[in-house]
Every structure is written in C-alpha cells, then in structure tokens.
Amino acid sequence: MPREAEPSLNEKAFFLQALQDGHRLDGRKFEQFRQLDLQFGDQYGVADVTLGKTRVLAKVSAEVTVPYPDRPFDGIFTITTELSPMASPAFEVNRPTEQEVLLSRLLEKTVRRSNALDTESLCLIAGQKVWSIRVDLHVLSHDGNLMDASCLAVVAALRHFRKPDTSMEGETLTIYTPAEREPVPLSWLHTPLCITFSFYGDEGEMTLVDTTLLEEQLKVSSCTISLNKHGEICQVAKLGGTPVDAVSLVQCASIALQKVKELSTLLDQKLAEDSKRRNKGGLLAELSAENAR
C-alpha cells in the first residue's frame, strides 16, 4: 500500500517555528480560508468546489426505485465518496482507507442524519415507488481539508439539483421530461456545512482552519464541527489525538458558526447567480415570438 510522503524533519521544524511566531507558510491568518471557488455545471446537480489546490466534484442523480420494505414512506438518499489514485498515491481503488470511511460517515451524519433533505417528500407511491437520490463525490485534487470542501460540494450540488416533475392521476404516475415541465428542486430543510479545526503544539494550543496537505500531516489532533447558519450543531467529531482544552473547543464552535454563516451566504449568492444565468429574461423571453435570426 503506497503511503503519502511524510514531511521531512526540517519542514516540520520550520513549519512549527513559523507557527509559534504566528505565521502560516502561505501567509494566511490562522482563521482564514484559502481562495474558495464554487462552480455549477451545465446540468443541474453538478457542483465543483475549488479550495486552494483542493478540488472536489459532486454530482447528483435521481431515479425511481422501490423503497426499503421497512421504510415504505421514505425516499432513498445515498452519498458515495470516491477517493481515487488521481488525487493522491495513498488512495487505492476498491480499498477504502480510514480517511474515506470517516469522510463518508461525516457526510452521512451532516447531511443525511440531520434531515437536511426531507426524504418523505421523495415518496411517489407508498411502498412501491420512491425517488432514489444519489450523490457521487469525486476528489479530483487533494491538498488538505477534504472534509470542508466535500461537504460544501455535496450540499451545493443537492441544492442546485432539480428532479423531474411528476403527477399522479388515479393510479398512474407520470414523470415529465424537462421539455414538458420545468424540473423541481428537492425539498431542502436546512443547510449544514462543516468546518475542520486542526490543533498544533504540545498542548494543542494553536488552532488552524482550512489546512493544506502539509499542515494536515503535521497536526496533533483535529475537530470537525458541522452546523447550519441558525447555530444548530449537526455533528461534532474530535476523534482522539492530543487532548485539547475544553474551552478552546467551545471557542472553535463559535468560530465555526461565523464561518458557516459566511459560507452559506456565499452559497446562496452563487445559487442566485446561477439561476439568473439560466433564466435569461424570464417568462417574457420564453413567450416572445422573436427568434435568434
């Protein structure tokens, strides 16, 4: 199993000394994110998040299936993550690393278990037909902080996604093509996003957000907090590592809330821009008899 090259002792010493002096290697502040770019594809439900050199792509697809027998009223919602060798030599196909398991569990807890997507609204005919919504997450380039980038990509793709409109007449279910009826958005309840904090120093006294791969390899412990802009925590995970003072974790939660508010604003703004781009001139342009010639 190939492993990620570990940073050399010199790099480590230099990085920690710089951190002691209050500097990060790329000149950012401790609580500053890298340049964040969010783009939507031509299709509905494709989101491409670039965070510095980290790049993540999420694609949502929907199909009609039979529901699970124990949950006849709920639609099916799955998130699959794929860390391919394209992103880093440490990732192998068909052998999920611990990082991949933890990432998919994090997304599961943040988006699925917090009921961000109302699965009951995906039900078409109870016990027979439901929508199955599937999110495929691909990591295209790995330079640290996969968690935050992936979570943003998944949430953005789901909010951007439109599923075909349906109607029920008696016993017959009709699914309309996009040409017949405008596709409808998913019923979305709240927007959870996650922020990862990495701790450095013997006592974990220094805290960084949005770490690069090098910084991530040198951390002594980390804590991922998922919450929405209303201040509801959906998930907290600090799995081991060097013990950190409880007070600094509480501080992290309040920083996370502030960051999540910024990210939600950005997401709303990007979604609004995208819908404006798709909807040139609105209904008036659609109904006009004038053609391109």
């Binding site: 398991v101 933890l102 509801e232 998930q235 907290v236 995970a237 600090k238 081991g240 409880a246």
Partner: protein, 280 residues
Amino acid sequence: MPLDTSTYNLALLRVDGRRWNDLRRLHGQIRTQAAADGSSYLEMGNTKVMCVVTGPSESARRGGAGGGAGGPAASSSSSTATTPNGAEIAVTIVTGGFSTVDRKKRSRTDKRVQELQAGVAKALAGALHAHLYPRSTIAVSLHVLSQDGSLLACLVNASTLALVDAGVPMTDYLVACTAGSTSGHGAGDEGADPLLDLNGQEEQELPFLTLGTLGATDRVALLVCESRVQVGRLEGMMAVAADGCGHIRAALDRIVRDKGAQMVREGAIAKGESIGMDLD
C-alpha cells in the same frame, strides 16, 4: 418508542429515577481472562462490554514500519492508529447480535463500527506512551454484550481498564462519559437541564454528546456528537460530561486498586515498597 420527557419538569427525575447529575451503576472487573495480556469487563448501567488486550507484541506486518509494505493481517477488520515512531494501536469491536432488542446483525465492516474503532484507537493513541514500544502492535479487542446507551463511552472506559491490566504506560486514565440536554433543538428553551450519562431510551430522544477526557481534567481527547443541538448548549453539556468523567475516573481507579489489593492479599504479587497501598 418515543420517550415521554414531559414528566421530567414535574419531579426533575429521569425515566430510570436518576437526577440530572447521577451516573448509572458502574461495575467493573479487571483481569477477567487469565490467558490474556490484559482484560476487563465493564458495565455502565445495562451497557456491558468486555475487552481483551494483546501486546505490545511484534507487529504483524513484516518489513518494519518504514517500508510500509504491510500485510493485510490486521487491516481487514480493525482500525489502527499509529503514533510517530511508536506502537500501532489496533482496535476491533465485535457487537453481539443479542446485544440489542431487535437482534440486528451488524457486520464488522459496517462504517459505523469502523468509525467507533477509529475513535477509540485514536483516543488511546493520544493517551498511551506508545513511543516506548516501537515497531509493535497493541491489539485491543472489544466485545459488546449489551447496549443501553453510552456505548462509545463504555468502550473507551473498558479499554482503559484492560490497558492498565496489560501494564501499558499511559499519561492518565482515558475516561469517557455522555451528557445530553433536555432541550429540543429550538433556541428559546431556557429551562433546559443538561443530563449526565444517558441510557438507551434517552439517547433515542434527546441530543447528546460523548466526551472523553484524560483523567479528571478538562483536556478533551474525544468529543463526538451526532444529534442536532443548539451551539449554546455545547458548553453546558461538555461541562457536565467532564464532571462525570472525573467521577468515572475515580470509579475506575477504585477497581484497579481493589484488584491490586486483592492480589497482594492472595499472595499473587509482592507488595511494592514505594507505593503506600491501603489493604483494608
């Protein structure tokens, strides 16, 4: 079945008759398996866990840690946490099919189980002095016999006891405890109380977190929350859980000392000169 929390405000008593800051009955044994390097059995209320520690022993993978050409021996079902230049800690959790009411079979490759394993392994890696055992593996095998809430906390506590028995040096007892809150996830619920050490019924209904600390300090090694809760509730819940961890540390220490005293009385080991041991 949803828990009826409406009566809590009347008597300030929980479903099992505890007050907000009461722990459940904690009963533990140490050195339960004679053949193992370290073993323990821990009950927190009706959550029952057995733990067996093997090691520190030679790493299963050949070629040493540097090559990284590891055999799949340990990696198939257990989660490992490595420490720089130190022992590898491999944790396996086996859940008995009979441990819950609905007899659901959980495979060992279930992501939920893998996450629990990773959580316990990484938390232990932060507490153990694993750098004393380079190129070795400490295998922690946990068996869940009965589940009634606070499972992760019980797993952590049981593995701490077994590692004490195995004689692996650690900074302090790694102890964990859960805390919940009687509030819904609305913001305005000011009368909400934090609750200590939730049972299975309460875990279904209330937001809760699991907090692991190193000894009776405020230093958090493990923090896991999987339910929706207002960010303002976090501090209160963490404070109550940290307090509970202090009590659990005292209880675990009692178990270890009682066993030690018993072994001296039975003549299994000689009484140490440097440690003032109270045998009565």
